[in-house]
Symmetry: C2
Subunit: 245 residues, 2 copies
DNA sequence: CGACAACTTGACGGGCGTCAACCGGAGTGG
DNA sequence: CCACTCCGGTTGACGCCCGTCAAGTTGTCG
């Protein structure tokens, strides 16, 4: 199990990617109070319409944001990994506008929203990191609109894989060649606006082309140049995830 | 033509929707220096990849954000109207990740990014308004991912119209029944991930159903209940645009 | 080893894209 | 004031990408 100091350390390492923190900033983060919790796979961390009083940090595992249309069909709007702040997007609001759900068994930490709000006012460097984090995510949302709106199935899935690979590497979760990827084909379908049947067909085409393969929950990019070319992938919109790319 | 005070007044009225401002806040906004400019329709205000040094405010007219895929096909990710701050999404970044383009002949004001960054640090109430503005827009991006990913053409277009109608009314640009709507069918296509041909067919279905009609650049919602029902529209994700809805 | 989730594959159909042609209105220049 | 041009809207024919339905296989966990 994780302790309070481990959560603070994880936050510090994440913020350090985005900005330069003073000792006062570090102390302020160390003073945050976390409520740590283990949750199973497919557990709802936040539900659309629920009031926002605390902010969730993903300590371990994989999660996603999603929305449902009137018929209950799911659209995933982002994937999340260890270290991601899952509620920044909701921070100034009264109620949640989307669902946040784990994909795998996960550990999370909860912080009262009020404590984060205070950091926004008192600690400009931290505020700057939080702005960057939230706006990089907004940039990813825009890229996903393009992805589902103006790319075909092959390109769409390839693009999603490229993005995840780059993010996983930048956050120290693997290399661009090999990384953990626990999403089911049904998850990929909901993220790309396709059906799981068509995702299956399309993944096979990618496998046959020699660009990408999967062994259970481990993804392997066999030909990065080719996959990038299929996807038309340009990582500029990730803004280096705050890191000098 | 518009003067410096008019721009400040427009910003004040916008921020007042989102937060409560003190006299010091108002003074700080009045001290911003604006560079005012008239631009023609289809003019690029910001180009993807360009460095960010100033922030654009739309004083009059209509604009959109968009991205291009590898084949040069356009995806519009948001529409903008009078009073919108067009570069909040880019504020902490070095370079633009998308294009911003006028739809109609427009007036804009430019503010140095550094002056806005300063407000973020010095004026918490204004910072809060800017956070809300940026995150409401992020929420709209998420809804658009759902829109293009998990809705059919009829629902998709109806949803886009509902959203625009609600925003136009909230910002005082018309009623929910009648509002200016200068987007071409090609613009609508690029916003919904369809082709202009199919948009045409689908708009006719909407017209035939009696829910919506257009006379040149004026949109008229003839049956709001029906249009909302076709769209499966729930305005929660707009967070009242900061207004008590 | 039974149950269930996830993956796989095939047949078929439809929603939307593509191509092409024509129309109407607004702006422009002679 | 009229002819020309061009952009945007409109409609039809045709085809493909992807959805739907259905069945079977594999993998995993209790």
């Amino acid at each position: 199990m994780t302790g309070q100091e481990d959560v603070a350390a994880l936050l510090l390492s994440r913020f350090s990617l985005l900005t330069k923190l003073s000792q006062d900033d570090r102390n302020a983060i160390a003073r945050l109070s976390f409520d740590i919790q283990s949750v199973p796979a497919h557990h709802h961390l936040v539900r659309e319409g629920a009031p926002i009083s605390r902010c969730c940090i993903l300590l371990e595992g994989y999660a996603c944001r999603h929305k449902l249309n009137a018929q209950g069909h799911r659209q995933i709007v982002s994937f999340h990994v260890r270290g991601d702040l899952l509620d920044l997007q909701h921070l100034p609001f009264e109620t949640a506008d989307h669902n946040i759900q784990t994909i795998t068994k996960s550990d999370v930490a909860w912080v009262p929203s009020s404590q984060l709000q205070r950091l926004l006012i008192d600690r400009p460097a931290i505020a700057h990191a939080l702005w960057q984090d939230a706006l990089i995510e907004a940039s990813i949302f825009r890229e996903w609109v393009l992805n589902v709106g103006r790319r075909n199935a092959l390109t769409r899935i390839a693009h999603m894989l490229c993005e995840f690979a780059v993010r996983a590497q930048a956050l120290g979760l693997g290399t661009t060649d090999t990384f953990e990827f626990p999403m089911t084909q049904s998850d990929i379908a909901d993220a790309t606006g396709l059906t799981s049947v068509h995702v299956n067909r399309t993944l096979r085409r990618l496998r046959d082309s020699g660009a990408f393969e999967q062994d259970r929950h481990v993804a392997r990019i066999r030909d990065w140049t080719q996959l990038k070319s299929i996807a038309g992938f340009d990582p500029g919109y990730l803004h280096g995830l705050g890191i000098a790319a």
